[in-house]
Symmetry: C2
Subunit: 515 residues, 2 copies
């Protein structure tokens, strides 16, 4: 059927979408979400149909992604016909029915995801099926490999390649900003790609961006690694395992992440990592709640690593409270820099030294943690960090007090005396986000007390920093509701941990999705 | 945040959608598929965000559904903020996790479906979860009641109200066009609402529309029933259980229908049906393959009926081949009319008499099937059918030979002699659709032979009717590939029923979704 092109001037963020009137859709025999094939001169595009009512007749509305390929002008006639259903749909349906998929089938699905041949409905059903039916290790391996193959891969000269990754879930976790320079200072290559926050107050890329640009091109990344052995770049522009970003777009609204392992490991494989330490923060308010769960997940990482020719070490770390005191990009960047200078909180320093130490021990060093601490104390890690900042285009002479924090603040004080019994990670993250983090770099929360600390009545528990009076107010209101820190005279005095609300609080979105 | 309105001039078919640039989405803290609340003067609208890249900055693109409620003009400033997540999302997630839902929770979900507060991703995940996790009878009951309550309901004076429904899957099944006038001629009230084809070559509404209008208003429907005891209307405009149409939009691309029972029974309940016969065609090429499956499904219909104060009888009918000879709206309307006049194929007449007979027996008649046959043979059913056609605005004097069939034809002949061993329903339906049915009313397939018939070499097996030479050609090609009729010298001579292709034929969409 011939239809007249109407340019909609909308870029969907990758999806190839066309809009067509319902009468013409029905003449073509297509329904919403069906695929159509559009032909214009030599160009051929498969797009997903949005069926609209009241749309101009005999007209094909096209998103810019379609226009990029079709190169048709407003008002030109193009040929439209129903497209064949992608073969991958049959396998998505098989998974829905409970069948374990084979590697070539999974590859076909991932390829169609990356080429945008699947609709949101099909993707959502696939991700839901993966979650409910579960994935075998063969499936996880196939998913990972397919995600690597459908994206860019990097190859660095100076082997072996080391890497670290945290599965996330603990606010204030700026450990990467210490581990990378420590490892690089020891002469190892560690080209770190990182992500921005999705559901947390700060991702590693957000923290690092306070100090220098992180949206490096592949060339700039190579260059930085050549100069410094390392980098701390944002992975978003590098097209490493791009399927992951598309899966996340569906996982996020559903609050599930059945693709956790393939997602993390495909990005590691894509940069050619040989030795990787995976941090699994474990605690009631973290993503992983119990040591048992952490062990099960670690086994899967290790097995998947073997299948991908990577050496994996997993670290189960204490995740019952935030790491250090600062939560929010600038507060965390400042704290990390202070720690490298030699004035860091004990948990942050020990966590960084332990993780770097595990990597060192994988490389044959005897007491890895001690070596990491030595490098930190010698100032070599700080020097290396400043080199990395300079190589990425930031100011190498930056000082902690030079990092801008928002001025609007409220101090939250204790109404009783005693000791800190618990700190709710999830609530802390929500309060920091409500204050404006990660968008407002200088917003967030600065703790004054941590677990076990003594507290007098009226002592500051934490301070909220926000960029606007309005956000400050709403974060204080949230803080009052969530009451994220428990102070008690002695353990056992307060036994009521939580109440189950009779009505679900829909605003609260406890799901942690970080990569 | 204040944004400038841009009217997109697109009606999505009900969904409340806005488009926003990714930079502004991120400032608002929203992702694609998140909900936003838009305020303009006194108006307040919750809409689902499509996050676009390259969309004008500081601009809110709005679909016509949003504009209908917001009443903002192009260029006006409106307030936009993230909306709270609907409470129903927590229950959708619970179902995903495997929990059985409670009635008030299901009601909240269905209400949010009808009010368009859920995105495609959320709906797809819910439907997928319902399919994989299964639904308890309590859940089915709650779904059905919620679907009734969120739509229009009808109340007819002349009680009791009878109804019939087929779960579909057999091509050429024009039985309703006989059952309704037979039952109405006996003095019972049977206000039939029907649907158009979704995956088949003709729905009851498509068949009836060959003879008279079917898109009646509620008033016209009442009027027709008052005059004739019956009607055969299209349910699409009546807003009976509108949630169903929204679920179908997701079920169709996924080729699953976990909402079969609520879907059918909510529409029956909405018209106030007291006595209903449900036809379950059973056979290898039908939706239900085995008698065992049919019995299990029938039990569910009966139990659900009890919970809804409806009397249900289920008929397991022979579904191994098409009903009668014609497949496609006009061919079927002609055959149904002929049958009412007294010249009908034996299977069609017997099926109609059996189903009408079951309804009669529910009303206390002794030999229901005989009574149905008597009414058919006496010409009363034909008279009644013509009354219904007239009341709905059609020509009551229509004759079978007056119904227009397409002129482009190809006869498919047997290459061997013997008897018809099997007829593939699914293939027949596909060929009729490829020829243009149901859109082209006069297109379709006319069988010359049925199961068990003797065939000589060169005998016509069936004729394809199509509206265009191009469609005719592609349907003939499909017919050659699918080879839908098996002729054999004697049973046992051909034992190879099917081959499993090494590659999935993605074009073939075997799923039957009819309501």
């Amino acid at each position: 059927m011939e239809l007249r092109v109407k340019l909609l001037g909308i870029r969907s963020g990758g999806k190839q979408i066309i809009v067509i009137d319902d009468e013409y859709a029905s003449r073509l025999g297509i329904h919403s979400s069906d695929r159509v094939e559009i032909t214009h001169k030599q160009q051929n595009v498969i797009a997903i149909a949005n069926v609209a009512t009241d749309f101009p007749k005999k007209t094909l509305g096209i998103y810019e992604e379609v226009q990029d390929k079709l190169k048709a002008q407003e008002g030109e006639m193009v040929q439209v016909r129903p497209a064949e259903r992608p073969e991958s749909l049959a396998y998505i349906r098989d998974k829905l029915m409970g069948r374990k998929l084979l590697a070539p089938e999974i590859k076909m699905i991932v390829r169609d995801v990356v080429e945008r041949h699947l609709s949101d409905i099909e993707l959502a059903s696939f991700v839901t099926s993966l979650y409910i039916r579960g994935t075998s290790m063969d499936e996880v391996e196939a998913l990972t490999k397919a995600m690597v193959e459908t994206g860019q891969t990097l190859d660095f000269d100076k082997k072996p390649i080391l890497d670290k990754h945290s599965i996330g879930g603990v606010p204030g976790d700026k450990t990467t900003l210490l581990v990378i320079p420590i490892v690089a200072a020891a002469g190892f290559t560690i080209p770190k790609t990182s992500s921005r926050a999705i559901t947390s107050p700060a991702g590693t890329a957000d923290r690092m961006e306070v100090l220098c640009p992180v949206d490096l091109t592949i060339e700039e990344m190579r260059d930085t690694v050549k100069k410094t052995n390392a980098c701390i770049a944002w992975g978003g522009t590098l097209e490493l395992a791009p399927a992951d970003d598309l899966f996340i777009q569906v996982e996020y609204p559903l609050s599930i992440d059945p693709l956790l392992l393939p997602s993390i490991m495909s990005k590691k494989k894509a940069i050619g990592a040989d030795y990787v330490v995976i941090d699994i923060p474990t605690g009631r308010g973290a993503k992983i709640k119990t040591i048992g769960e952490a062990h099960a997940l670690a086994q899967e990482f290790i097995e998947l690593g073997k299948r991908l020719d990577m050496h994996i070490q997993c670290a189960v770390t204490f995740g019952e409270q935030p790491i250090g005191y600062g939560i929010g990009p600038a507060l965390e960047a400042r704290e990390a820099l202070s720690a490298l200078i030699g004035d860091g909180p004990i948990d942050l320093v020990n966590k960084a030294a332990s993780l770097a130490g595990l990597l060192f021990e994988m490389m044959g060093v005897k007491d890895g943690t001690q070596k990491a601490k030595d490098i930190l104390e010698s100032g070599e890690a700080e020097k290396k960090f400043r080199e990395i900042i300079a190589a990425q285009g930031g100011d190498p002479d930056v000082q902690p007090e030079g990092i801008k924090i928002e001025k609007e603040t409220v101090e939250i004080r204790s109404e009783e005396k005693g000791r800190i019994q618990w700190i709710n990670n999830r609530a802390m993250a929500q309060i920091a986000r409500e204050a404006g983090a990660p968008k407002t770099r200088g917003a967030g929360v600065l703790l004054s007390k941590k677990l076990g600390d003594k507290v007098a009545e009226g002592d500051i528990l934490y301070t909220i920093f926000s960029g606007s009076a309005q956000k400050l107010e709403s974060s204080v209101t949230l803080a009052e509701n969530l009451n994220p820190i428990g102070v008690t005279g002695k353990f056992g005095e307060k036994m009521l941990v939580d109440r189950i609300p009779t009505k679900k609080i829909s605003r609260e979105k406890p799901f942690i999705l970080e990569r």
